[in-house]
Every structure is written in structure tokens, then in C-alpha cells.
Symmetry: C3
Subunit: 180 residues, 3 copies
Amino acid sequence: MLLYLLDLAGIAVFAISGVLAAGRAGLDWLGVVVIASVTAVGGGTLRDLLLDRHPVFWIREVRYVYVILAATAAAIAWVHFFTLPEHALALADALGLALFAMTGAQVAEERRLPTLVVILIGTMTGAAGGLLRDVLTDRVPLLLSSGIYGSAAIAGIAAYLLLQAAGTPRRWAFHAGLLL
Amino acid sequence: MLLYLLDLAGIAVFAISGVLAAGRAGLDWLGVVVIASVTAVGGGTLRDLLLDRHPVFWIREVRYVYVILAATAAAIAWVHFFTLPEHALALADALGLALFAMTGAQVAEERRLPTLVVILIGTMTGAAGGLLRDVLTDRVPLLLSSGIYGSAAIAGIAAYLLLQAAGTPRRWAFHAGLLL
Amino acid sequence: MLLYLLDLAGIAVFAISGVLAAGRAGLDWLGVVVIASVTAVGGGTLRDLLLDRHPVFWIREVRYVYVILAATAAAIAWVHFFTLPEHALALADALGLALFAMTGAQVAEERRLPTLVVILIGTMTGAAGGLLRDVLTDRVPLLLSSGIYGSAAIAGIAAYLLLQAAGTPRRWAFHAGLLL
């Protein structure tokens, strides 16, 4: 249940970051939808393939796809009518990274994998969507140009392993907010 | 059977598009073969991994690999002896996209997945090979710079879902041709 | 056992090549660790996903992760204190490619796959890590700009298929050394 909510929040936030990046790159509406979708499902899909969880999360549960489309539409409308806060893309990226890093860590942890592997899978789950987005829109990946994002993911996963399941979501939102 | 023929046609066309893109990027013969192969198998491999179909299509059936090599050799020879029509790469890309989008949609549809998921998997299957090709040869992805290709895939899959299996191949070729 | 040692050597060498590439691109320490890890696990992970070998090698055996971290730390320290030989990156890349190409070929060969498929999987296993590294650090992939590396992988796999298991490791080291 927690995992489900984190996945939903993560894909919404990453879809928004995809819209912002695609808009900046001057893509048309379809390019925007493609980038938003790839960014949103990238991390969780990599997690599910690496851990052999089938069907992959957005194939098992169509609701995720609706969330992507809704978040994308909302972000396109928002960009159309309002000016964006300066760090909107970085904020969405960091929040999505933190949320997905946690889902990756949680799934890996349920399998009783060693701590280092949990951290690696969490980091990859959090980072993959944003990396795909940046490679496809031909930007230097945010994750790599600014170490703070990745550090946040690793710190967050470590915190999660300590806190285990109870009471984490609020701390995470807090944590992700702190980041910036 | 239909799926098999579509896969064969799709990888041949994508291998050719890979040769054209690699030639344009000034790669040597091995780079050309690598790009042609990756472009040709990329979409179908992603489809098979996402849907947990093992062995992956070109591992199960070596004939696909022969088709890639034959199409690559033919395209290299062709480029060597003739000048290319101006839109050759865009044409090959759109045709490959349409063919693979349909194989992806067909496989997803056989699993009785929800329509939106079928559309997403079809689009990804069609788009992945070309995106890999463009990222590796460091071009702005065709798919993203020109929305018409992706729209065609989505429209085509929607048409396919209406038409179901019967009589589709001819319509598809027609459709892909129309595109340009 | 042989496979295990080859995997260990391959990831150490690729982690080093990742450090060199990330240093050149001016990334901070975390970016360096991310690129080193992705380069190191990329090829073997692709191999395991394509062949449906689960759990993926570095998830099954945490020792691989320790090797990555140790090789990365050693390479960072080395770069800090010494000047690098001119072709260090190309050397690490070619050696990693040869080592991983052989693990890919070996696994595929154990499954009694057709020779062409063995060669393709070996090439992909060897090439994937370096391609990911170069795409993420936004360089023209070494593999593609200089055909000698890929040719070496293919030649090496062909040699391996002839030699089968016995006595190969030394020949491979020899082969990889020859390359340059």
C-alpha cells in the first residue's frame, strides 16, 4: 500500500519533470508526452526488470498510466498559464528521485538482499527516469552535474533502512523538501 | 505467423535505417553493423523484456539475425552504388516504427492488457530502436523532433485494435506509406 | 568459476574506465561513483536480462559491488597522485570489453544457442557498459569511433568458440593486450 502510494507520487512528479524538460527542449506535444511517460516509468521499470517482478508495475496496474496522463496534462496547462518558479525542474527531479529511490529500496529490502545491493537498486530506481529524460533531450544529466541529488537518494535510503516501514512517508517528504 | 512476418519486416527496415544513420555519422563498417543491429533488435527486445517473453525473439530464432546481416549488407551496397532519395532515413524510420508498434500492440493485446497499456507498449516497441540509434549516433531523436512519427504509431495501434487481426497487414503498409 | 573470475576482472576494469571518463567530464565524486558503477554492471546486467538469468549477477553476489567500490576508490586515488598514461582509458575499455564479451559468449554458449547469437550476445555484453558510460558523459562512443575494439570482441569470441573452455584465460589476456 505504501509502495503503491510512493509509486503513484513518484510517477506524477517525474511526469511533471519530463514535461518541463521537454518544453525547454522545444518539443511538440507528442514529444512532451513521450518524454513525460519515459521519465515517469523508467525507474520503476528498471527496478522490476532487475528484480524479475512481472508484470512490470505499469503493465499490472493501468491506474499508473492514468496518473501519468493526468500529471502531464496538468503540467502542460500549468506551464501554459503561469510562469514557473525558477527551480521547478530541479525540485521535481529531486522529489521524484527520493520517492522512487525509496520504492526501489523497499522492494529490494523485502527480498532480504544485502544492504549495499539495496542502496544500489534504490539509487538506480531513483536515477533511471531522470537520466533517460536528460539523455533523450540531450542535456547533461542533472544527477551527474549536481551531486546533491544522488547523495540525497543514498542518504534517504540509509535513513529508510534505519526507520524501516513505520512513519517513513512524512519523513521522506520532509527530507526531499530539505534537499533544496 | 503474422507477428513473425511483421518482426522480420520491421528489423530489416530498422537495420537499413541504422545503416543510413551510421553512414551519416561517418562510422566505419563495424560501427555501421553495431548501429544497424541495435536499431533492429532494440524495440522487439524491449517488448520481450517488458512482457517477460523469454527467450527474446532474436535469441529464440536465429533467422532474425540473418535478416539483419542481409539487410545491412544490402543497404551498405546500395548506399555505395546509388544516391539515396532525400527522405530515405525518415521513410525507413517511420515504416519500422509502424511495423514494430504493431507487433508490440499485438503481443500486448494477446495478453488481454488494458487498451492504454497496449498503446504504450506498442509505442515503446516501435520507438525504442530508433531512439537508441539516434542517441548512439548523437542526433536529436527523429521521433521527438517530428511528432508525426509517434502520432502515426498511436493512430496505427488504435486502428489495429479496431480492425483486430483480420486484413491488417495491407492496411498497415498503406498507413505507413501515407505518413510521408 | 572461470566465469566468476572474468566477471570480477571485467567489472574492476570497467569501473576504472568509468572513473577516467567521469574525471575527464569534470563530474564530482558522486557522479564518478555512479558512472563507474553503471559502466561496471551495465554489460553483465544486459546479458542476464536478455538470457533471463535471475537474480542478476551483482544482486546475487554482493562481492561484485565491493569490487566496484574498491576499484573506483583505487582509481580515484591513482588519478589524484599520478599522471595517467596517455591511452589509459582506451586500454581499460578494450580490456573490459574483451573480458565481458567472453563472459557473455560463455553464458550464451552454455545454453547451446546458435553461434551467431553467441557472438551477438558476447558483443553486446562487452559493449553495453562502455556505451552507457559514453552516452552518460556525452562523448561519441569509443566503440563506434574506433572499430578496433568491437572487432577485437568478435575475433575474441570466435577464438573462444574454437578453444572452448580449456586454457582460454591466458590467451584472452594476451589477446586484449595485443589490441593496443
